[in-house]
Symmetry: C2
Subunit: 448 residues, 2 copies
């Protein structure tokens, strides 16, 4: 039997009441995280490019765009919400693969749930199954696929979006196989555009392609029987150097990859997070200031310079791809919200001066969520620290309390405290809601 069909049977057949409680809880946390970062992102010029475009093109006002007064056709809302969710690089990360599952999957599931007026619990379950699909496809091709230059959030994400939206739409197995085919053949996104609007577009495109595929498959759209394992399918063409059928299918419904998904404390690539943890911890412990610091020396995982190696960021977005800027901002501001990645911040002379003193040595024995850092002061003092597991990693997850603090900081950029509270509460009780309309209403601005 085709591996795609096996996966589709799992998604269609899974019983909502059999999903683990923690997974439903995690689905709420990822949605709250999405809302926080998307609200913050929605105010930017970067967001406005797509929001203005969607507003001008209009269409059926069926699905809601976060942080805006705009309702659009479902696939347009999925495109924009996926883009907003990944715009600040502040969304979650599936640690084994560096996939960001929420940005492609939740927007597709949520827009489909608005369309189909699905219950809150079933919507949360659809996200869990969609995220599992995205993560399973991702680990089945990791590391070969990412190493070849693909942005796995776009490419594996589209399968999760189709699975999640397909679950919401009530597709049968044949229809979901077709939906996965129609979605999977649109898998796209290369790492060349990292550091530009192209990167968050990958998440939006995946969400949009996924919900379209589910919609069309329900209406009779055909695709191949095995888009993942077929001779010219996803594995063969987009991961020619290797794949693992076992990683895709083993113990489906018993082992959940959502367990390995972490929320981010910093609004940049996850591989720099141990470094930021380390710098902030030393800064706070020793009350360090920029003028005291002669050097910040790190021993890091090889992906740090590969993914975050931009030496001299010129604009804010480029700062997110500079581990030196991340460390410098952590030292000066003690934080890594999007506010540390504005155009002004990367040009700030104090931060720029510290940035020039940051260096990193690659050590293949250092894990991705680990770092060794020494801060050398001008007076010769050396402060050493070893971060074993960065905040937000599976071994050191962000607590609900820390998530609430992040949510408050970002949601209140847009909403008054009461409204932010009401939205938080609506998501936290979504499993008891008849549909997602209360969340949808609260996550939007009042109509103009």
């Amino acid at each position: 039997m085709s591996v795609t069909r096996t996966l589709a049977e799992f998604v269609v057949g899974a019983k909502t009441e059999s999903l683990p409680d923690w997974a439903i809880h995690e689905a709420k946390r990822t949605l709250l995280n999405l809302l926080a970062i998307s609200l913050s992102a929605s105010r930017s010029d970067d967001a406005r490019i797509l929001i203005d475009w969607a507003r001008r093109d209009g269409g059926r006002e069926r699905a809601s765009i976060v942080g805006s007064d705009l309702k659009t056709p479902p696939s347009t809302a999925a495109l924009l919400n996926g883009y907003l969710c990944h715009l600040q690089d502040y969304d979650d990360t599936h640690f084994p693969t560096v996939l960001h599952p929420t940005a492609p999957v939740w927007p597709a599931v949520f827009a489909a749930a608005e369309e189909h007026e699905l219950s809150g619990l079933e919507t949360l379950a659809a996200f869990v199954l969609g995220a599992e699909t995205a993560c399973r496809v991702a680990i089945s091709v990791h590391p070969w696929h990412y190493d070849a230059g693909w942005h796995i959030t776009g490419t594996a994400g589209v399968f999760g979006a189709a699975a999640g939206a397909g679950r919401v739409a009530g597709l049968d197995v044949d229809q979901l196989v077709a939906a996965l085919g129609a979605a999977g053949t649109r898998a796209s996104g290369v790492r060349e555009v990292f550091g530009s609007h192209g990167k968050p577009l990958h998440a939006g495109q995946a969400a949009s392609s996924g919900i379209q595929a589910a919609t069309w498959a329900k209406a009779g759209f055909t695709a191949s029987d095995d888009i993942i394992g077929g001779r010219r399918g996803f594995w063969a063409v987009l991961s020619a150097d290797g794949h693992s059928e076992e990683a895709l299918l083993a113990r489906l419904g018993e082992l959940w990859e959502l367990r390995m998904n972490g929320l981010k404390p910093y609004a940049n690539g996850v591989v720099s997070h141990p470094l930021q943890d380390a710098v902030i911890e030393l800064r706070n412990a020793h009350e360090l200031t920029a003028d005291q610091v002669a050097a910040i020396e790190a021993r890091v995982h090889p992906l740090v310079p590969e993914l975050m190696g931009r030496a001299e960021p010129r604009v804010g977005l480029e700062g997110k791809f500079s581990f030196r800027h991340c460390a410098a901002a952590a030292l000066v501001d003690g934080a890594g919200h999007d506010a540390q990645f504005t155009d002004e911040k990367v040009k700030d002379p104090v931060i720029a001066a510290v940035r020039a003193r940051v260096s990193a040595t690659v050590d293949p024995t250092v894990r991705e969520d680990e770092v060794y850092v020494t801060i050398v002061l001008k007076d010769g003092t050396r402060h050493d620290i070893h971060v074993e597991h960065a905040t937000g990693s599976p071994e050191n997850p962000m607590s609900d309390v820390v998530l609430r603090a992040k949510y408050d900081a970002l949601a209140r950029e847009v909403f008054a405290a009461e409204r932010a509270d009401a939205l938080w509460h609506a998501v936290w009780t979504l499993d008891a809601a008849p549909d997602v309309s209360e969340v949808a209403g609260l996550m939007q601005l009042p109509r103009r």
Copy 2:
């Protein structure tokens, strides 16, 4: 300098008055061919899946969908018109690469021209430059990219769609570099879905992604500086086995790949066309009937069984991927319009009986547009033929007269003769028209 920028400078800088006359003529011919096949395709259930979806989602009524009364936002119209144009596998073919340039490029250019109210001549020029871009990207990665499993019409097509729509939108070089980046990172489409709705979707997706990329780039969307040649760009990721910078850039504006583009006399994959030419010529010369024929033996290019090897087609669409069905229908009906690829036709017992008597031997010395065929009759008579260049190949192009016959056969499935004539005339004089509105109006059905 980045190769993407060099290409963008060519597209932005080319003077319309310097384009060769034959290229403008060819742009009209490709548009007429698009209209003929899209009109025919628009009546099918396959078309209705997407047309019904687009009608339900609605939106700004700015761009026209061929053979329908529907106007939609430009990127939706591009999606649908690209899909319709490739639905019957009856569009044109760039022979060096098997790229179908019209289906991804014309719908993006046309919708953008409706949006920007561009003159007819400038619209034709934008198609020429968009098609050149798609063909150049395609030959720069051929054959490695296609051999790896990519559907080059989707992947190279998206660059042409962005270039053509960007030319219409008046992008400057920086903006077009960004548009090519935003489009190129969405390049997608694998050969696994050949024989399903997924294949024409690739063309529609390319057209839609291309016009969106051009629209967004004009509003400030950023992407990478060199999506084609960059370290993690199109060449590196989607054509890891090889690429040619010279093929992309050499003698731009002097050599035109549109010269190598052919219109199709048969509604199926081009690699079977020599075989169909051969069978029809022998059939007509000797007045052959199905019951006389004991065997149809062909010596063919290796791609024939690879791309068209489906032995027992079950539905009409699968018949287009069966060289045996193509040859059998050519013998029985003397034609290869879409009418020869219905579900009824593939189940027709007369055709099925002939189909079982068709065989092919691969010969690597046989060119793609060439074939040797022997038809053996039950009485032992053998009829041999050698087709050197199939109809519609660059060495044996379809004449305007034959194009008119194809256009009439297909357009009159939808329109009365006068309206079909008026549309033909409007395209033929498009270079003198102030905009594309007359063509747009005539290619649609009256509003309901």
